[in-house]
C-alpha cells in the first residue's frame, strides 16, 4: 500500500494547495469579492483534507464503510452548525 513516490507526490500537492489557499487571500479576493474568496478558501481546505484522508490515512484503499463512518460524523456536526446558526433571530 505504501509507495514512497506516491506519498511524496501527495506531499507536493498538499504544499501547493496550502500555498494557493494563502494566495487567494494575498490576491485581495476577500476584500473585493468576500463570498467568492470565502468559498475558494473553504473548498481548498476540503480538498486538502480529502487528499490527506484519502492517501495518508489510506481511505481510498480501505472499505468504503470507514469513509461513511467519518462522513456521518461530519454530517452530524454540519447539521448542528447550520441549524444552530440558522436559528439565530
Amino acid at each position: 500500500m505504501s509507495h514512497l513516490r506516491l506519498y511524496t507526490g501527495i506531499y507536493v500537492v498538499l504544499f501547493v494547495l496550502a500555498t494557493a489557499q494563502v494566495a487567494v487571500e494575498f490576491a485581495g479576493l476577500l476584500e473585493n469579492a468576500y463570498l467568492l474568496g470565502f468559498g475558494l478558501i473553504i473548498a481548498l481546505s476540503f480538498v486538502k483534507a480529502l487528499v490527506v484522508a484519502g492517501y495518508y490515512q489510506h481511505l481510498v484503499w480501505e472499505p468504503r464503510s470507514i469513509s461513511y463512518l467519518m462522513g456521518i460524523g461530519l454530517l452530524a456536526v454540519l447539521a448542528l452548525t447550520f441549524a444552530a446558526s440558522y436559528s439565530i433571530t
Binding site: 509507495h3 490527506v52 439565530i88
Partner: protein, 865 residues
C-alpha cells in the same frame, strides 16, 4: 482437538465459600469441552451443578478467584465488569433516590422546611445528574457488558482493558461528583446546566466546577466504552450471526452505542468549553450575543439522543422479556428493528424542541415540531409490536414480565404526554411546569422499570441463584403503586412551577400524595435489595436456562457462564447455535417448552462432533485501568480549584504524575485479547479491530472538533460575521504551521515505508522528524500566543479571543498528546519494534493525520477569513 484436558473427572479446586456465586461452581467440564453431548456447558436439572472453567485455566490468566477482593480491582473480564457496573449503578440509584426523598420532604408544604434554597437547588440538580448519567445508563451498560458478548458469541469485548478503564472512570467520576458537595457546594443550576447560570458569576463555588468536571470525566468513560462496544459488536459476532439475526437486546445496545458515540462527543465539547469558561476564564457562555443559546444547542444536540440512549436498552429488555414470557417471537421483528434504526437517526434532528421558549426563530421551531411528531411514529410501531406479541402469546406473569409490562404502560403514558410538549403553542404553556417533570419521569423511570425487570430476568444467569418470586412480585406491586402515586399527581397539579419549592397552597394535598408515593417507591427497593441479597447466598440454584422459551445464547451456557463463556467457538453457520471445537451444550432439557433453546440465530443444540480449534491464551487481568482512573480523578480534583490556588495546583501535579505513569504502565504491559478466527463482521470485515477502534474514536473526535468549530461559527454569526475581528495580526505563523504539520504527516508515512523495508534507522529517523516538527509547531504557536498576551489579548478579552485561544488550544493539546505517543514509539522503535508489525505506526498515523486535517480548517477559519 483442543489443548485443554477433556477429562470430565478432573479434580475440583474447592471454591472459596466466601462468594455466593462461586459456591455453585463445579468443574465438571473444562473450558475446552468434553465429548459428551450433554455434558458441556449446561448441566440441566442437576441443581447446583453448574459448570465453570477449569481453575487451572483461570490460573493461566493471572486472574484471582471470584472470592478474592483483588480480582475486582484487576479484572478485565466483561462479566465481572458488568457486575461492577450493575452494583455501582444501584449504589448511585440510592444516592440519587435519597436526594429525591429529601426534596420531596421539602415539598410536603409550599415553602422551605428542611433545606435552604441552596441546599434544595443542589439536591435537585445533582439528583437529575446522578439519575440520568450515573444510574440509568450505567445500569443498562451493566447488562450490556454481561449479556451482549454472550449474545454475540464472543469471549469478551474487543479491548478488555479499555472496558475496565471505562468502569473505573465511571466509578471515580461519580466519587468526584460526591466530592463536589464538600467543596462549598455542588452545582446548583439544574441538571441541564443552562447558561448563564453555569458561569462562575452565578455559581462561583469550586464544587460547581467539580460537578462539571465529574460529568466531563464520565463523558470520557462513555467515549471509551462506545469505541469498545462498536468495535466488538461489528467485528466479533459469531459465524452466521448477521446483523439481521442479532437478538433484540443486542440490537438496542448497538444503536444506543452509535448514538452515544456522536451525542456524547457534543456533550464533551460543551463541557470542555464550560470548564474553560469556569477555569481559564474564556467568555463563551457569558457572551451577550448567543452565549446562552450556544449552551442549549450543544447540550440538547446531545440531550435528545440521550433520551433514547437511556431508553433503548430498556426497550431491548422489554422485547427480550416479552418474547421469553409469552413464548412468541417479537411480532414484526424486522420492522421493530427498522423503527429503532429510524429513531436513532431521527434523534439527532429534534433537539430544538427543548428550546421552543428561547429566542430561536419561528421557522426553525416549526421545522423541529414536525421532526418531533415524526419521531413519535416509529415508537408507535414498536409499542404496537410489543402489544401484539403479548396478545399472540401465552403470558406467564413472572416478576421480570410484570416489570416490563408495567414499563410498557408507563411508557405509553409518558410518550403521549410528551406529544403535548412537542407542539410549540402548548409548550409555551407547559414549559417550566410539573407537566414536564411528570412526563419525563414517566419515560425515564418507565425505562428504569423495564431495566429492573432485566435485573430479575438475568439475576439467575449472573449469580446462578434464583430470586424469590413472591418478594419480586411484592416489589413490583409496591413499585408500581408508589410510582403512580409519586408521578401522576404531578400531571394533576401541572401548574406547579418547576425547580422551586414554593407553589399554590391549593396543590398541597397532591404534593403530599406524591411525597408518600416517593417513600413507597423507595421502600419497594429495600424489598428488592433484601430479596436479591438473600437469594445470592441461599436462593435456589438456577439452571443454565431457568426460563422456558428463552431464545438467546446467554441461556445456552451455565449460570454463571465460565470465564471464556463457551465450550468452543460459537457458530450459527447452519442456522442454529453450535460450538465448534469443544463439547457443546443443549439447552433442551432445561428449556422445558419447545425442547431447545432456540437462539435468535437459530436453535441451540448439541454438536459433539464439531471441529476443533486452537485455544488461544487470553489475558484477563490488569491493574492499570484502575490506576489510570485514580490518576484522572486526582487530576480533575486538582483542576477544579486550580484557579483559586492553595493546595489545588499540587493536587493537579500529583494527579498528572499518577495518570502519566499509569498510562505508560498500561502501554508497556503485554496484554493479549484474541480476535476470533471466523465470524460476522459487516460492514468492517476488512478492518482489523485496533484500526477500527481508532477510526471510531476519530469519528467521535470529528464531532468534538466539529462542535468546537461549530461553536465558533455560531458565535460569529450571532455577533455579526463581518464585525468579527480576526485575532492573529497576520497569517504567516499560521501558514508556517500548516507547512510544518503537512511535513510531519509526510514523515509519518515515510516511517511506515521504512518499517515495511525493515529499516530500524529509517523508522527511528522518520518518527524523530515527526517529533521535532511537532515541537516546532508548538514553539511557533507559543511565540504567537506570547506576543498576543504581551499586547494584552487574553482568553477573557473578547469572544473572538476566547474562541481563538480555546479552539487552537484544543488542537495544540491534541498535538501534545500525539508527541507523547511519538516519543513512546521512538523509544520502542529504537529497540527494534514495529519492523515485523507496523500497525502501531499506521494507527498513530491515523491520529496524527487527523490532527493535521483539523489544522487545515482552523488555519483559514481563525487566520484568514
Amino acid at each position: 482437538m483442543t489443548e485443554e484436558s477433556t477429562d470430565p473427572t478432573e479434580p475440583d479446586e474447592p471454591d472459596t465459600p466466601a462468594d455466593g456465586a462461586a459456591e455453585t461452581e463445579r468443574n465438571a467440564a473444562p473450558d475446552g469441552g468434553t465429548t459428551e453431548a450433554d455434558g458441556g456447558a449446561i448441566a440441566p436439572s442437576t441443581g447446583g451443578g453448574e459448570l465453570v472453567e477449569s481453575p487451572g485455566h483461570e490460573e493461566d490468566t493471572h486472574l484471582p478467584p471470584l472470592g478474592s477482593l483483588k480480582r475486582w480491582f484487576v479484572t478485565t473480564n466483561h462479566k465481572d465488569v458488568g457486575i461492577l457496573y450493575i452494583v455501582t449503578s444501584l449504589f448511585f440509584l440510592i444516592f440519587g433516590g435519597v436526594l429525591a426523598l429529601l426534596f420531596r420532604v421539602q415539598l410536603w408544604t409550599p415553602g422551605a422546611t428542611i433545606m435552604s434554597g441552596m441546599g434544595y437547588n443542589q439536591a435537585v440538580s445533582v439528583h437529575g445528574l446522578v439519575m440520568v448519567f450515573w444510574f440509568l445508563s450505567p445500569f443498562a451498560f451493566g447488562f450490556a457488558n454481561y449479556i451482549v458478548p454472550l449474545q454475540l458469541g464472543a469471549k469478551d469485548l474487543a479491548f478488555p482493558r479499555l472496558n475496565a478503564l471505562s468502569y473505573w472512570a465511571y466509578l471515580f467520576s461519580g466519587i468526584l461528583l460526591g466530592v463536589s458537595f464538600l467543596q462549598e457546594a455542588a452545582f446548583a443550576g439544574g441538571w441541564t446546566m443552562y447558561a448563564p447560570l453555569n458561569i462562575p458569576i452565578y455559581t462561583p463555588e469550586v464544587g460547581a466546577t467539580t460537578t462539571v468536571l465529574a460529568l466531563l470525566f464520565f463523558t470520557a468513560s462513555v467515549t471509551v466504552s462506545s469505541v469498545n462496544f462498536l468495535t466488538t459488536m461489528h467485528r466479533m459476532r459469531a459465524e452466521g450471526l448477521t446483523l439481521r439475526r442479532l437478538p433484540i437486546f443486542t440490537w438496542s445496545i448497538l444503536l444506543t452505542v452509535w448514538m452515544m458515540l456522536f451525542a456524547f462527543a457534543a456533550l464533551l465539547a460543551a463541557l470542555m468549553v464550560l470548564s474553560s469558561d469556569r477555569i481559564l476564564g474564556t467568555t463563551y457562555f457569558a457572551a451577550e450575543e448567543g452565549g446562552s443559546l450556544l449552551w442549549t444547542h450543544l447540550f440538547w444536540f446531545f440531550g435528545h439522543p440521550e433520551v433514547y440512549i437511556v431508553f433503548f436498552p430498556a426497550l431491548g429488555v422489554m422485547a427480550e422479556v416479552f418474547q421469553t414470557f409469552s413464548g412468541r417471537r417479537l411480532v414484526g421483528r424486522k420492522w421493530f428493528i427498522a423503527a429503532m434504526v429510524l429513531v436513532a437517526v431521527q434523534s439527532f434532528i429534534v433537539w430544538m424542541h427543548h428550546m421552543f421558549l428561547t429566542s430561536i426563530n419561528l421557522q426553525v421551531k416549526t421545522l423541529f415540531m414536525a421532526t418531533t411528531i415524526g419521531i413519535s411514529l416509529p415508537f408507535d410501531l414498536m409499542v404496537f409490536s410489543l402489544i401484539y406479541t403479548l396478545i399472540k402469546g401465552r403470558i406467564r406473569f413472572t416478576t421480570p414480565f410484570l416489570f416490563c409490562f408495567g414499563a410498557l404502560v408507563l411508557f405509553i403514558v409518558g410518550g403521549i404526554t410528551g406529544v403535548f410538549l412537542g407542539a410549540v403553542v402548548l409548550d409555551y404553556e407547559f414549559r417550566g411546569t410539573y407537566w414536564v417533570v411528570a412526563h419525563f419521569h414517566y419515560v425515564m423511570v418507565g425505562g428504569v422499570t423495564a431495566l429492573i425487570g432485566g435485573l430479575y430476568y438475568w439475576f439467575p444467569k449472573i449469580t446462578g441463584r434464583m430470586y424469590d418470586e413472591f418478594l419480586g412480585k411484592v416489589h413490583f406491586a409496591l413499585f408500581f403503586v408508589g410510582f403512580n402515586l409519586l408521578y401522576f399527581p404531578m400531571f394533576v397539579v401541572w401548574e406547579t412551577p418547576r425547580r422551586v419549592f414554593v407553589y399554590d397552597p391549593a396543590f398541597t394535598i397532591w404534593h403530599q400524595i406524591a411525597t408518600v408515593g416517593a417513600f413507597v417507591l423507595g421502600f419497594s427497593f429495600l424489598i428488592m435489595f433484601y430479596n436479591l441479597y438473600k437469594s445470592l447466598w441461599s436462593g435456589e440454584a438456577a439452571e443454565g436456562d431457568p426460563w422456558p422459551y428463552s431464545t438467546t445464547a446467554e441461556w445456552a451456557v451455565s449460570s454463571p457462564p465460565p470465564l471464556e463463556n463457551f465450550p468452543g467457538l460459537p457458530s450459527y453457520a447452519d442456522g442454529k447455535l453450535s460450538f465448534n471445537g469443544g463439547g457443546s451444550a443443549s439447552a433442551a432439557d432445561g428449556a422445558g417448552g419447545d425442547g431447545a433453546a432456540a437462539a435468535d440465530g437459530g436453535v441451540a443444540h448439541a454438536d459433539a462432533a464439531a471441529a476443533g480449534h486452537e485455544e488461544e491464551h487470553a489475558d484477563h487481568a490488569s491493574v492499570w485501568p484502575f490506576a489510570i482512573a485514580v490518576g484522572a480523578f486526582v487530576t480533575f480534583l486538582g483542576l477544579s480549584g486550580v484557579s483559586t490556588g492553595g493546595i489545588y495546583p499540587y493536587v493537579l501535579l500529583l494527579g498528572a504524575g499518577v495518570l502519566g505513569a499509569s498510562l505508560l504502565g498500561m502501554a508497556r504491559e503485554p496484554f493479549h485479547a484474541p480476535d476470533r478466527p471466523v465470524g460476522e463482521r459487516w460492514p468492517f470485515s476488512a478492518v482489523e479491530n485496533g484500526k477500527l477502534g481508532m477510526w471510531i474514536f476519530l469519528a467521535s473526535d470529528v464531532v468534538l472538533f466539529g462542535a468546537f468549530i461549530g461553536s465558533y461559527l455560531f458565535m460569529r454569526v450571532a455577533y455579526g460575521w463581518t464585525d468579527w475581528h480576526v485575532v492573529p495580526h497576520n497569517s504567516t505563523p499560521g501558514l508556517v504551521n500548516t507547512y510544518i504539520l503537512l511535513t510531519s504527516s509526510f514523515a509519518v508515512v515515510v516511517a511506515l515505508v521504512a518499517a515495511e523495508k525493515n529499516s530500524r534507522k529509517g523508522v527511528v529517523a522518520s518518527l524523530l522528524v515527526t517529533f521535532v516538527l511537532g515541537i516546532a509547531f508548538l514553539v511557533n504557536k507559543g511565540i504567537e500566543w506570547v506576543e498576543l498576551f504581551y499586547e494584552g489579548v487574553w482568553l477573557s478579552s473578547s469572544i473572538e479571543a476566547s474562541t481563538f485561544f480555546l479552539t487552537t488550544g484544543l488542537h495544540g493539546a491534541h498535538v501534545i498528546v500525539g508527541l507523547l505517543i511519538a516519543l513512546f514509539m521512538i523509544t520502542r522503535a529504537w529497540n527494534g519494534a514495529y519492523l515485523d508489525d507496523d500497525r502501531p505506526i499506521e494507527y498513530f498515523g491515523l491520529y496524527w493525520h487527523f490532527v493535521d486535517i483539523v489544522w487545515l480548517f482552523l488555519f483559514p477559519l481563525f487566520y484568514i477569513l
